[in-house]
């Protein structure tokens, strides 16, 4: 194999413990676990704050503070405190994931039409039913939007795991840089970018099917028997 074969097209790079599939799997693992932890923390807190309106300063400030923390710096601090391992990486990535999910969950719930909530309570829904049957479905586009942006950030940032000796696509970047193999660095960057795009498309698909057409407006007005809008324009209230 000559040096002019691009890294990605060299079959020897697609097998073995340091092959791209293995690195990709590890990378996805870090991303997935960090996302799950972030959701487990941010979603309940965001739902509570959004539903009750209590502690909204927390949602806003935690969001801003979290955003301004450099992940690499935080990771080094954690490693200094706890030693090497997966836990410091997980903490650093979770800190990255929490703010966008928390802020979007809170904002999504706060923006739900108050008259729908008033009607829900007035018809006898209990607080839990108001939350799950009315507020969450109406806030879903915003909540999922936050999840998507969190996923994008963490999938790109999970490369830091390699800097503390773990696996993941960051290996291609770190190892490539250390031996001046820029082909490998570029390959790593490309795979991370493609992964980010694929992940975003998948989450977009989830969003498409999870959000009610009544909220997203998707597919409305194309029903058989003609669109709704022209029909109501003809005779708004005598139909």
């Amino acid at each position: 194999m000559g040096d002019d074969t691009p890294y990605l097209f060299d079959p020897t790079h697609w097998s073995g413990p340091t092959g791209i599939p293995q690195l990709l799997l590890a990378h996805l693992g870090y991303t997935g676990v960090a996302l799950l932890c972030g959701v487990a923390i941010a979603l309940p807190v965001g739902l509570y704050i959004g539903h009750t309106g209590r502690g909204s300063f927390l949602a806003i400030n935690a969001g801003n503070a979290g955003r301004s923390l450099p992940t690499l710096g935080l990771l080094m601090l954690m490693v200094t405190l706890m030693g090497l391992g997966f836990l410091p990486v997980l903490i650093a990535l979770t800190v990255l994931v929490v703010p966008p999910i928390l802020t979007s969950t809170y904002a999504g719930l706060r923006n739900v039409d108050r008259s729908a909530v008033d009607a829900a309570v007035g018809m006898g829904m209990r607080p839990w039913q108001v939350l799950w049957r009315v507020e969450v479905p109406m806030a879903l586009p915003v909540v999922l939007g936050g999840l998507r942006s969190a996923a994008l950030q963490v999938v790109a940032t999970a490369t830091v795991a390699a800097s503390v000796g773990l696996s993941g696509l960051g290996r291609l970047l770190i190892d490539g840089l250390s031996v001046n193999d820029y082909g490998r660095v570029i390959a790593g960057a490309v795979v991370v970018a493609v992964l980010a795009i694929v992940l975003d498309l998948l989450l977009g698909l989830v969003q498409r099917y999870a959000v009610s057409p009544g909220v997203s407006g998707r597919g409305l007005g194309r029903r058989t028997g003609g669109p709704a809008a022209p029909a109501s324009r003809v005779d708004p209230d005598r139909l």
Partner: protein, 344 residues
């Protein structure tokens, strides 16, 4: 029957929204709470289903103290309609209507059947069942809101400015159909509005609130218009209350002239005797449409309006089949209005 006993509501900031309210809302009737903004009418309404908790006093619905009941269970038994309908945008029309039956645990098929039936009852076609609220006009959404409130067939309905977010033409239709529906259903209804015309039109009883949460007057629309309790009520019911008061007086006792006494103008009839137009001297352009007619079951308000707007100053009375059977020139009407209260 809904009874307020010494109800007082003071908000944490010290504002007294309702002060020592004693009021009874008769079963099967529409009681309208009306008053300027900040008078406590909406707060009073919302205390019935415990959306607002009173500071002191009791509210009884059919003899049972609402404060002794689980708020969620209480609310499922009381219909609730609000200004902008407050439909759930993520649910179809039929699922919106079936909200309370769903909460009550009725099965899906039964819920859907009942909901579609209700849609037709409020004047929406069954084909609307699977649409989403965003595909409906404001007036249609409000109809769905009313259907949703009726879904579990509650004996009591609370309506907070239900028709004020739609344009005047649609509002008029909704009000008419609401009255027709109520004549079939006979619910005990509390309705809040800031519009005295709506109150007069819809209310069997009107409770006029004044700022600070005091009742200024309670009575039938006619009592309010004819005998306002004080200057506040007089001011509130408006300057043309004399004219509006004519809505409550029947045209049955109004003397009519035979068709031959139409004066210089002539009323043209079709083959079956229905009025078509005015013709002859004094009619601009030689001919003008009649515009409208009344029967002896209509109100003096309509007759007055017809006489004033007629091209020849004469209202036309018709019988049940629409045939012209008498004329009321406006000077006769004025004489009748002047003497109608004089002892015979």
């Amino acid at each position: 029957m809904i009874t307020f006993e010494h109800i007082r509501k003071q908000f944490p900031d010290g504002t007294v929204a309702v002060d020592d309210l004693d009021l009874q809302l008769p079963t099967g009737q529409i009681t309208v709470f009306v008053g300027p903004s900040g008078c406590g009418k909406t707060t009073s309404l919302r205390m019935i289903n415990r959306m607002v908790e009173p500071t002191s006093g009791r509210i009884l619905v059919d003899g049972e103290d609402v404060l002794a009941q689980d708020p969620a269970v209480l609310r499922r038994g009381i219909g609730y309609v609000i200004q902008h309908a407050g439909l759930f945008p993520h649910r179809t029309v039929v699922d919106n209507v079936a909200t309370v039956p769903h909460l009550l645990g009725r099965n899906r098929k039964e819920r859907r059947r009942a909901a579609v039936e209700l849609l037709e009852r409020v004047g929406l076609p069954a084909t609307f069942a699977d649409r989403y609220p965003s595909q409906l006009s404001g007036g249609q959404q409000q109809r769905v809101g009313v259907a949703r409130a009726l879904a579990a067939d509650p004996p009591v309905m609370l309506m907070d400015e239900p028709f004020s977010a739609v344009d005047p033409v649609v509002r008029e239709q909704l009000q008419q159909e609401f009255l027709r529906l109520q004549s079939e259903l006979g619910k005990t209804i509390a309705l809040v509005t800031h519009d005295i015309d709506e109150a007069v039109k819809l209310g069997d009883t009107i409770a006029v609130f004044r700022a600070g949460g005091h009742l200024a007057q309670v009575g039938t629309p006619q009592e309010l218009l004819e005998h306002p309790a004080d200057d506040f009520v007089r001011e509130f019911v408006g300057r043309d209350r004399g004219f509006r008061g004519l809505s409550f007086e029947s045209a049955a006792a109004l003397p009519v002239r035979p068709l031959s006494e139409a004066g210089p103008a002539r009323l043209v009839l079709d083959d079956s005797g229905r009025p078509v137009c005015w013709e002859g001297a004094g009619v601009r352009g030689g001919s003008a449409p009649v515009g409208g007619t009344f029967t002896q079951h209509d109100s003096l308000r309509l007759v007055t309006d017809l006489a004033l707007s007629s091209p020849v100053g004469t209202a036309v009375r018709v019988d049940g089949a629409g045939r012209a059977d008498g004329l009321v020139p406006h000077h006769d009407l004025v004489d009748h209005l002047a003497t109608r209260r004089a002892p015979a």
